[in-house]
Point group: C3
């Protein structure tokens, strides 16, 4: 697969500075790109690499275009243009229609003839799989699941009963959607399981990372809106709602019944408590402890970064001494009711 | 499936205020319940919803019963009664006895005739599976495993060699019990693997969440006592012991050889160091750092909740300034030996 | 399997104090060891157990050897010697050469005749598996993967396309190597997927824990050097590099493009931000927040350990009060540019 710069400029409506006949067959970082490769400036700190790149073309914004020794495709959003061109050069393989003979498909399942079901997959009764889907090897699709068009479940994805996926949903290996939530009633010293009967509803254009888990709702459903991107090893509790185009990085956990707004960006390894409401357009930095609701858009952080161990021990001991001193004026009352 | 309120009152020994002939076929939240649905007041903040509910019946305690427009089942523990009724309305499907033809069962395994083994499951030599178990599709059960009566492994559960499960154990997809613990000896710059030869022993009525991992013991066994509830994506290191009826929420990690007592409640995303002893009846709030043993029951917490990023940066810088000041009187000596 | 102490002393070049004819058939902790068992002093605190052990032999250093009631194998590194002897007593089962009839092997894959492919495994086109490998049941090996000699994939391991493993690599169930990284370009409110085309390259003698995920590189590759040990449920982002003999404990996440040096020891549940450089020989204690690069070897820590909830609330409120006071002299300027 290779494509001429001129074609790319027309296809994506961008300005080209340089020879339209130059052909691009791959993408590569500025520093290691060679003939036939397209690169882009991912970080202004790398501008010295730009001056020396051997790439056949570079995607840049107008402000940096003059610094390039190679032909330039100019965009106000170079990263997005680069992503679009890379998708042309490295297309997802289309489904190979048909059902692998080792797959086990319930006679009451309905699978569009244009879709692929891989080896050792299992499709439950009443399940409907739309057109042009790839259900990779060893996927387990439960009963009465709905999968929209053009979805790709790479391999070994588990969808519990009644999970619904919109169009163009991508799910990576080991993800489990629709397992029971963590719902118990106390009964003396014992825990009594509360049946979990809700579903998981996933909108269009959602991507879900490897070994991420999204529990089914307790009674109502767990909702993942369109365009949401979830990285690997994320845990989403029962009845959580995540708004459109929110992105969450790896290892973050969201406890049950929390509602996260649209267009939020939540970094990795955060812990988000249950029953919170986080409004639209919130950014949360990495390793943050979110124990209360957020009603105002903005950037939120917590956590004390590492220090050499000896100094950190001093920080901790000084901090704890603070708590032992007399309260400052006005604080005493607040403390009366703190537990 | 539907059941009359009068039957429920008799079956669960609770008081009914209202028409015993009213039939219940489903459960629903107060706000969205309709005819035929049972609801309950999960949170006192929702009492305004109670006044307007269209549910056919509500489970309440005696103090709130008068506020209900619908018939009421009265319990001192409404949540537990609700859970019991929901289990009647939404029973777990019973096993369909037999072994799917695509399963691979070792000739030296013993599977009770009342149990089900799903598609693409694998059962190792010397393994014994008790009565009325459901071994879901794609479960991998190693050699010499013991599974008690009435267990349900939903799908894609991995049990390593010699794992033992008690009765009525539930395990969700992606859980791995009995993988090797993280045990190495230093050998110059290299790490030398220490063979991991212990087992994982799980008591009765334990539930284990999706993608949770419980390592086999190094030499002795890893022990999960009866009634323990583990949420998704929990990591339990080798030789850990967890006492009866302790519940741990998602994403918490417990390092090797730590012993957690009975009836503890540990919230999500906590990090618990190794070789600790945590006594019975300890509650640990979410995202807590547990680096020392706990010998007294109670509620323990750590972590600094998020703030707007600018203010958080100020908190961090002020905190670190504290560490640079002269130590308060009496602290100097303690610091002499801190590393 | 049993072996005489004299044989072990010769084989491992260590001093024996006691009868060389005594035979050892198992390993056990000091406190529960009996006849035929070998033990070692894992922790100086257990020296009272040493005096009373019923083990048939103990591995000790010269300084503690005199305290043993049983024969002693003496080593300057007792833990390593113990690990070596345990590996003799509990050898890994060798592969049983051949391909299980339920496995699905692409005709263009090449599998050494001395290797084993388990039930329901899948091997993709162009993949080459070296000699004496065990590819356990339900492993999914993608296209054009390279697996070196003597590797063992226990069960249910997923390797995406073009993953490369060196020699003697061990991988536990549920691990996913080579899924797409979390790479998107902003495009208005939407996220545009950036094709992930790099590989995961794993060196010799690496061990990877259950349900750990290692993403493929975005353009370049993700690199795990020889001798690295990764525990369970670790997340390694795209383009991360981990240096030789570094060990990382469970639940730690490493964000994209971070480079970790050689011989580091990183404890569990740490959050390591992206695009950092961590030099060789760094130790990071558990539950640490690593948001900046580290250029000097040493021990680093963060986090405030738990306290009783009431006292912790006081710590948090005092800490936040600090931030509200006037800045100390000299700090004001620094704050001008903090966002």
């Amino acid at each position: 697969m290779s494509v001429a710069l001129g074609e790319l400029a027309v296809r994506f409506g961008c300005e080209l500075r340089g020879d339209p006949e130059v052909r691009i067959g791959s993408v590569a970082p500025l520093g290691s790109a060679g003939p036939g490769s397209l690169s882009f400036l991912s970080n202004p700190k790398l501008s010295s690499q730009l001056a020396q790149t051997r790439a056949s073309a570079v995607v840049l914004d107008a402000g940096t275009a003059a610094s390039s020794p190679a032909p330039v495709l100019i965009s106000t959003n170079p990263h997005a243009l680069f992503a679009r061109i890379a998708s042309v050069l490295y297309p997802e393989p289309p489904p190979r229609p048909g059902i692998h003979p080792s797959a086990v498909v319930d006679p009451e399942a309905s699978i569009d003839a244009s879709s692929e079901v891989g080896a050792h997959a299992l499709i439950g009764p009443g399940t409907v799989i739309g057109p042009r889907c790839t259900i990779g090897p060893a996927c387990l699709i439960g009963a009465q699941v709905r999968i929209g068009p053009d979805c790709r479940l790479f391999a070994r994805v588990t969808l519990g009963e009644r999970v619904q996926l919109g169009a163009r949903v991508l799910i990576h290996p080991g993800a489990v959607l629709g397992a029971d939530g963590f719902g118990y009633a106390r009964d003396g010293v014992r825990w009594l399981k509360v049946p979990q009967i809700g579903a998981v509803i996933v909108g269009d254009d959602v991507e879900i990372g490897a070994n991420t888990t999204i529990d089914r709702g307790a009674i109502d459903d767990t909702l993942i809106a369109e365009g949401v991107k979830l990285d690997n090893q994320i845990q989403i509790g029962h009845n959580v709602q995540i708004g459109a185009h929110t992105a969450i990085a790896g290892c973050t956990g969201v406890s049950g019944s929390t509602r996260i707004g649209a267009r939020c960006m939540i970094a990795g390894a955060c812990g988000i408590a249950g029953h919170l409401v986080i409004c639209d357009d919130v950014v949360i930095t990495g390793f943050a402890m979110v124990s209360g609701s957020i009603s105002k858009p903005g950037v939120y952080s917590s956590g004390i970064p590492i220090e050499p161990m000896r100094r950190w021990k001093r920080v901790v001991s000084r901090l704890k001494l603070l708590a032992d001193r007399d309260p400052p004026p006005g604080e005493a009352e607040e403390e009366q009711d703190d537990d």
